[in-house]
Symmetry: D3
Amino acid sequence: MNLEEELTKANILIEALPYIQRFHGNIIVVKYGGSAMKDESLKNHVMEDVALLKLVGFKPIVVHGGGKEISRWVKKVGIEPVFYNGLRVTDAETLEIAEMVLGRVNEELVQKAQSLGVNAVGISGVDGNLLTVRKQMPDQKDIGFVGEVTKVNTKVLKDLVENDFIPVVFPIGADEKGQRYNINGDHAAAMIAQAVGAQKLVYLTDTPGVLMDPEDPDSMISELYTNDAEQLIADGVISGGMIPKIRNCIDSIHAGVRRVHVLDGRLPHSVLLEIFTDRGSGTAIIGSEEKRYYQKV
Amino acid sequence: MNLEEELTKANILIEALPYIQRFHGNIIVVKYGGSAMKDESLKNHVMEDVALLKLVGFKPIVVHGGGKEISRWVKKVGIEPVFYNGLRVTDAETLEIAEMVLGRVNEELVQKAQSLGVNAVGISGVDGNLLTVRKQMPDQKDIGFVGEVTKVNTKVLKDLVENDFIPVVFPIGADEKGQRYNINGDHAAAMIAQAVGAQKLVYLTDTPGVLMDPEDPDSMISELYTNDAEQLIADGVISGGMIPKIRNCIDSIHAGVRRVHVLDGRLPHSVLLEIFTDRGSGTAIIGSEEKRYYQKV
Amino acid sequence: MNLEEELTKANILIEALPYIQRFHGNIIVVKYGGSAMKDESLKNHVMEDVALLKLVGFKPIVVHGGGKEISRWVKKVGIEPVFYNGLRVTDAETLEIAEMVLGRVNEELVQKAQSLGVNAVGISGVDGNLLTVRKQMPDQKDIGFVGEVTKVNTKVLKDLVENDFIPVVFPIGADEKGQRYNINGDHAAAMIAQAVGAQKLVYLTDTPGVLMDPEDPDSMISELYTNDAEQLIADGVISGGMIPKIRNCIDSIHAGVRRVHVLDGRLPHSVLLEIFTDRGSGTAIIGSEEKRYYQKV
Amino acid sequence: MNLEEELTKANILIEALPYIQRFHGNIIVVKYGGSAMKDESLKNHVMEDVALLKLVGFKPIVVHGGGKEISRWVKKVGIEPVFYNGLRVTDAETLEIAEMVLGRVNEELVQKAQSLGVNAVGISGVDGNLLTVRKQMPDQKDIGFVGEVTKVNTKVLKDLVENDFIPVVFPIGADEKGQRYNINGDHAAAMIAQAVGAQKLVYLTDTPGVLMDPEDPDSMISELYTNDAEQLIADGVISGGMIPKIRNCIDSIHAGVRRVHVLDGRLPHSVLLEIFTDRGSGTAIIGSEEKRYYQKV
Amino acid sequence: MNLEEELTKANILIEALPYIQRFHGNIIVVKYGGSAMKDESLKNHVMEDVALLKLVGFKPIVVHGGGKEISRWVKKVGIEPVFYNGLRVTDAETLEIAEMVLGRVNEELVQKAQSLGVNAVGISGVDGNLLTVRKQMPDQKDIGFVGEVTKVNTKVLKDLVENDFIPVVFPIGADEKGQRYNINGDHAAAMIAQAVGAQKLVYLTDTPGVLMDPEDPDSMISELYTNDAEQLIADGVISGGMIPKIRNCIDSIHAGVRRVHVLDGRLPHSVLLEIFTDRGSGTAIIGSEEKRYYQKV
Amino acid sequence: MNLEEELTKANILIEALPYIQRFHGNIIVVKYGGSAMKDESLKNHVMEDVALLKLVGFKPIVVHGGGKEISRWVKKVGIEPVFYNGLRVTDAETLEIAEMVLGRVNEELVQKAQSLGVNAVGISGVDGNLLTVRKQMPDQKDIGFVGEVTKVNTKVLKDLVENDFIPVVFPIGADEKGQRYNINGDHAAAMIAQAVGAQKLVYLTDTPGVLMDPEDPDSMISELYTNDAEQLIADGVISGGMIPKIRNCIDSIHAGVRRVHVLDGRLPHSVLLEIFTDRGSGTAIIGSEEKRYYQKV
């Protein structure tokens, strides 16, 4: 390596300095799912990013789903996966399988973190009563054991973070009577980010970001203010399965999360690049009141 | 309720007083498995016992296996369970299923604790690098992904206990290269008890205790000193699958665990009765050096 | 002991579980006096109850008087005890004797606790400036060195409780100029319970509880709401020496104590039975605002 | 006040500076008894000295006896005080009175400290199991409930000191069975000083210090090395009731107390003058090994 | 030394007791400058006073200027010192010299404290971003690198005090862009006293205190209430260079400092005498609202 | 920026991950001097490196000299700088100037750190009694106020590091009598690194590293084991002013510092590149006992 390359290296590290400083000690919730879970190399990249965040002083929390893996197992035992409005219709047997698959994916992510030398602990919404839920009835329809979060008890997360662990959370929760439910991962991540007072919530998705035209990857919006997002929903630009995701983003901003990022999980190290370089990536959801004095954070 | 009954009640509580006092702040590891896992009511009783231990000042750690449930799922996907010397022969697919089943059983136990109002967190040996293992080769035989524990990193357990959680552990661990392995539950419990400096290790089994004659339940030994136990193995009285279990007991005593108890998990509240009443139950394994001045602890 | 008896035992311990849980870490002030102080066996029972409360996680504070013992000594040195409205008329010599007797009773109770293996420290209202008093003048009458509490400095109690001691308090306090005074024990206990934010205040008395008819033990009121208590005073049902006691109860509820219990100190383990069993005993004084949604706590 | 007087003042304070510095944070045990307990003004001076020690950063512990007051009360109830070798022969009734009197003297000293604005807590050897004793049998003679200390549990003292209280201790302790005993105050103070690792132990006595000739106050020894003290006992110069006192001093030095001082309690502020001025007062008992490089500490 | 002298000594120490008590744990800022910096013996006396304050439980902070020493060095390199309204006109070279001289004076004071056995750390307003300034423009006149404090970041002071150090501060600060400035010492001391919540601010000056007639040392005002001070400024009694000093005093009182003292730094131990004796010295600036119930503090 | 560049960025950050991990929480002492102090841009680079080390979890301590600046000022006041064996001959006036210059350089470095948003505090060896020295007499020659370190009191460093400050130290210390001395910066840095238990000690020099032939920059030794270093000194390969520097390195390794690095301070970011990239730079001094199992740390 020659001198010039070395300087480039040094400068990239130095470029990261103000970001490390700005976010030092802040909580960042990373929702990890979709394609990024299928490709073993991407899986590694995401956990590397999270590990680096941890090592330089952030307090990352990972929330993940089970993605295609649940459907694979459901089919294996002879059940046909059914979805309603993007939510998995969940009978007792499907719930059992979902719990099993999510638990194993969780263990795998925890182990990747440990292999990278950072301490992680995998938990569900049941541990320490993290997520209390009630039955979710979209359009009054019964879709089985699908729950929406009504209360977040952050003690277990705070204790783990305080003790230098990365919590890795899978979205199963119980209601007041102890019945367990499957929870949509995006929703769980948003509720957790709000409850722990996260500075940032990052969604790794299978799109480059929020698109004006779902068919056109180049139509991505870099900065999306919450009131503009509301307008886009009202205008039907944001539609279908994108609506609940954006709703989670908007709610999180209103509840005090400073920035929500919708990033392309298919690109390696998209989290790292968003956090540590001057040029962000994907879409940043921002509170309308920041419009005037916007700066990258 | 009349006066006499009330006094009986009070006296039972008062009888527990010296035991609460003696063990206050002590760690007790409860290995939970076998039949006690099948009967829903027994499952509740065990977790009630553990919850009470926690509430009166003990620091319980639960270690559990998956029992019959793993075999049920293995068969479900078309594999015939094979055992060698009491250890499950574990190919990649079996390991995957074991992880899934154990994860779900774990979640269920955690939830029972939470329903009883005590905080619990479920972890595997992978979380916080709790259990490092190496491939186990009984009689130089390859039985697949079965590991024996070579190192216990107690940080995650200590942090959870310190933060008032009951750790509930399932026995999956990884080797130095990150390959995961199934671990025999009795072995994992013993290694954990030794590493955390437990005062007591309790095995819930499907027998009344250690029997002189496996066919005769009345042949139970109440107190078994470690050197007598060695003699019984040498004499062939203890034989077959009982040998590794007793070996775990002896090793734990030598490593500083004060008492190991082999209790009948099929009886309700056997843990509670052992700990809080003057009359113990099952077999207590005791260091030979205590023979002279033995007292119930 | 047969199996059935063992289960009974276990079930009684399990029955205590929700109460241990509910009150864990809560302060409970036990005013100990009257007949319970004369009978050596009752004395032991009370301290056993307090010790058990401590061991399972409560934070008990004991307040006691000297009862008959002060009168015995006063007479011994040739003084005739005089009372006015239930308060001991206290000249200098009587005060000296009261201090001596209370100090010794205090030492005795502390030692009983220590014999039971729990740490206790005996203090008066003078230690750490716990109780500041002013001369009490019932009906403008001078009854000597009898004081009423004007300020409670809880530092010494909090430090002792924090360091795992049971504070055992006898009711002597000093005024701003350093003159010491005898204090009515019920009053001292109430003031302390209010100042430390106790969850419960328990009076051990020589009656079964609050009676509609003082002559009829069966006329006991199980739950007495504060506004009903006020009415009973206004109606003359509660009268004489009972009035100041009930006044202490009502004041304590208004100041935030959740429950005040008037129990029969002549029955063994009445405190234990009240706290740890579903059926309470004696009279519970309860805030009127709880009437609608009353539950046993 | 003119300039010169002001400078004198300032210089006296400045003279105290190195002593404050040297002893900052050190424990000093002051045994208070004899004539200093009879004169109200002396009593105030001693507690003023102790209060000042506390305020400038020392950690004082006061141990006191009951002196003449116990005999006065014993006589009052018709018992003739009897002593054997300087120890009070103590039957059950005498013990009761001793406890009562000591408790009240204790309360009085605590209150003096509080009046001076420093926090104090009075305890006996029973509180927190401070002093465990066994029956003392001088020359195999039974002198009743007189105990010698066999174990010191310093927890209560350390907790009180840590929480900024001055512990004021009266010498009653219990044996393993819970029987209480009277303890010689000098002995109790020495055992406490040794157990808490005191830097200094100060005895306030009715003599100017250790005298070569008990009849001649001018024969006081300023510095007495432990081996010289042994010699003086062997030679019979130190004799009678002085022997146990000097024995306590020697034992304390051997157990690590840096200096023991025998001061004249009849002189006002003798403690203060010893500690804060270049010229000490009374007799300093010093370890023989310090002979070569002796310096005032 | 005879008995009477010893008692005098003891009484002076005892006289200090209530003051030690009253101010224990309070922060006191001592601005040290003027003649007291020239005389080596006075320098020692001031640091002895500060050391004693520290040892008896105060938390002193020293702020100092460089006085005549800066002018001496400025002349040495051929610059003629210029002042405007009592502020040093400061070009780049003068600033460099001021920093050098202040740094060295600082080191010297720190060392004096260390020689007296108390820990001190010297800092400027740059360390830990203690003092943020902006260019000061008296009467819109540019006088170079002279700054006025706009923000005080007390972290470094609090950490040092917490860790038992005496912070010794010299008044150089930087603006938002990192340009360093010279700061008037009286102003810096006042801003620091206000920001850390000091109980007292002491100015050591070259006058006996605040004088009604600057020419007449006997015209000193002992207690000066803030509204009276305002009136004296309005009436022209306080004038010239005295105005900003008194303004600092008044501002500090308004910002919560309890007392500001203007003392004669030329008298030895003036700080000590003010703090520890019943008769204060110099002028005490007091909030008008204390007029009615004034007492020496 | 295109995708490839972005990945390069991410990979460089990820490459730093294991180094961040390995050294997290470790102390690293950086001796800063020579040419790196003259060039304003290099000065910035060094402090940027130190700031980044701090932000990612290291605990850096900076030690610096005054370099050419002292000579410049000495000449300015008419003194001719004299050196003996690389040590500055230091009369009283030279010492005064050295203190002034070092103090100001110190302030400047502290401010650079603060501008980068990390907290720093500048101290000398006098603060908190950090460095106790005695007069250094090379070859029995008197070279004035030049001291060698005899004791390091690490309290002030540990407290500052604990409170999240970067200590920036300049090498002035005092002897037992309070006389201050100039100290060689390399020596001071080595003594500090040893006393605080540093993991690494980094010397920024005006050479590429340790050279076999001082005239040939390409003769640099990458890894120099301590016994080889001793041999090179014995063989005369390392000679002259290089000997004391290498001696400091060897001593530090023997005292437990894991690695000493001699880096080229004239290259930008040489500290960063050494720490965070796989290819180190300059010379690493390594304990001989590591020869067999050497790995880059």
